[in-house]
Amino acid sequence: MASAYIIHLLILICIYLILSLSLNLSVGYSGVLNLGHIAFYGLGAYTSALMALAGVPFLLCLLAGGLVAMFSGFLLALPTDKIKGDYLALVTVGFSFIIYSLMLNLDEVTRGPLGLPGIPRPSIFGFGFEDNFSFLILIAVITLAVYFIIQRIADSPFGKLLEAVRDDELAAKILGKDTFKAKAFSLAISAFFAGIAGALYASYITFIDPSSFSLMQIIPIISIVIIGGLASLPGTVLATIILTLIPEALRFVGFPSSILGPMRQIIYALILLLILIYRPRGFLGKVELE
């Protein structure tokens, strides 16, 4: 029983890790304040769930979820050349609203607020990941892969270009760098991994509905990225683990679940506020959010 609970927690941590590591790529490295990351997550979840329900093999669903999210990330990157700062953040908020309302209103496809039940668990070449332990191994492998890919990107010349764009876009342009392309790629890659996280979430919970993908769900993830520190992948890992475990402590105090949910949200939001006010660099951040 206890071990089942720990496995569940570890799976949740892995999903949050993929989401927050990929968000750090766009927010931390390239400085695009993307508050619409949940929309990519949701697109990945819905795309893969619909395909899985239609009987498509898991790996294809996973890939498709990532690609659809990636494509929409590329679309969202289009205005980043013209719009900056808080207006860009608002565009990403608007994007998140639109995707959420599509999930809610495209009844014929998404079944609206009823959600999609009965999503099959992953199965790769005949090997099913029916029990949570094997699922944990699958998602842990994927999470590690995501970590190393994002680290490789961050350490590559392309990653340095992203940081240059974040620190001084004009200077990077003067050096002849295509800053728009850099931002578009980072947003698309970041969206791809968010889509993967969504696909994994859908196949783990086996049920999705729009409420998991509303704008407010960005708060825990953006908190993780800011608390861990911008452009710091170890910081993100540390913050993910801490932030996932803190609300779990409440469970043992014995609050009823109707109080537990909102209380968890309040804790995330309060931690984020305190960090923003007192330590804007987070634990291990290299730069401050501009």
Partner: protein, 290 residues
């Protein structure tokens, strides 16, 4: 049919205008997006429910108490969250994230204190309708339209002729110059939050007469108020009011062709289009770069 839709659009517009007026008032002086404004409205509505329905206080007294709570909450948020952030010169993006966190905290508080079920204030009888030509309007709706009209005119006169109103416009126009002539910008910010939240409290009372009170109503309302401000031009209260009526009319005429569940989606698409194509709004003046 046309006139009925027109009337419905105007009534929706009047409600949005109340939300947008307070929001743009705060934006015009402080230059940041106060998303938590929606949360102030929602919490004030719950205060009305607490005083009127739970404690059984006389309706008009409860309404005044609810409006006062709105002011206290709004000014309190400014004092506890925004003021420390301004002190360390946080960018508008940071303040934007913190305002979303505050909104989340307020919504979770509603959920924790009052539960997830909808509440209603049955003070005025909604049933009795008046027919003016082909249009049927309830007396409550007439009450809402007239009171928001009176409130907006009062606000306009206040901004135009009172000393504080003039100082607010001066700070909105150019903060540095206003400070040189001896206007304390911090004091004006407090005034903006007080007056903006006063309108929020007023909006809360009117809205809770017409609609149900639910924990997430704040987000729904601020999306509309925010969209209205962006359409009209976020820098001016007049723009926000204009945008509100345009939004109310577009939504209601839109569902003439589309299923009514698309009402919100219409608002988001308009919001998105304006953010991308004309971020300064209809009445706004184009600045060099945002």
């Amino acid at each position: 049919m046309f006139y009925q839709i027109l009337a419905n659009g105007l009534i929706a517009g009047a409600i949005y205008a109340l939300v947008a007026a307070g929001f743009s008032l705060i934006y015009s002086t402080t230059k940041f997006v106060h998303f938590a404004h929606g949360g102030v409205i929602a919490l004030s509505a719950y205060m009305l429910y607490l005083f009127y329905s739970l404690l059984g206080i006389n309706f008009w007294l409860s309404a005044i108490l609810a409006i006062i709570s709105g002011v206290i909450i709004g000014v309190g948020i400014d004092y506890l969250v925004y003021q420390p952030l301004r002190k360390r010169r946080a960018s508008p993006v940071i303040i934007l994230i913190s305002s979303v966190s505050v909104l989340l905290i307020l919504e979770s508080l509603n959920l924790m204190l009052f539960g997830a079920d909808v509440k209603s204030i049955n003070f005025l009888d909604i049933g009795s309708g008046w027919s003016i030509g082909p249009v049927i309007i309830t007396s409550l709706q007439i009450f809402i339209v007239i009171s928001s009209f009176v409130l907006l005119v009062t606000l306009f006169l206040f901004m135009k002729y009172s000393k504080i109103g003039k100082a607010m416009r001066a700070v909105a126009d150019n903060k540095n110059v206003a400070e040189i002539v001896g206007i304390s910008a911090e004091r004006i910010y407090t005034w903006s939050f007080a007056i903006g939240s006063l309108i929020a409290g007023f909006a809360a009372v009117l809205i809770s007469l017409e609609q149900n009170i639910e924990p997430t109503m704040g987000t729904a309302l601020i999306i509309k108020g925010f969209t209205a401000s962006i359409i009209g031009g976020v820098e001016s209260v007049a723009g926000g009011v204009l945008g509100a009526f345009l939004l109310g009319l577009t939504e209601n005429f839109g569902i003439w062709w589309l299923p009514s569940s698309y009402k919100d989606a219409i608002a988001f698409v308009i919001l998105f289009a304006f953010l991308l194509l004309r971020p300064e709004g209809i009445l706004g003046v184009k600045k060099n770069q945002k």
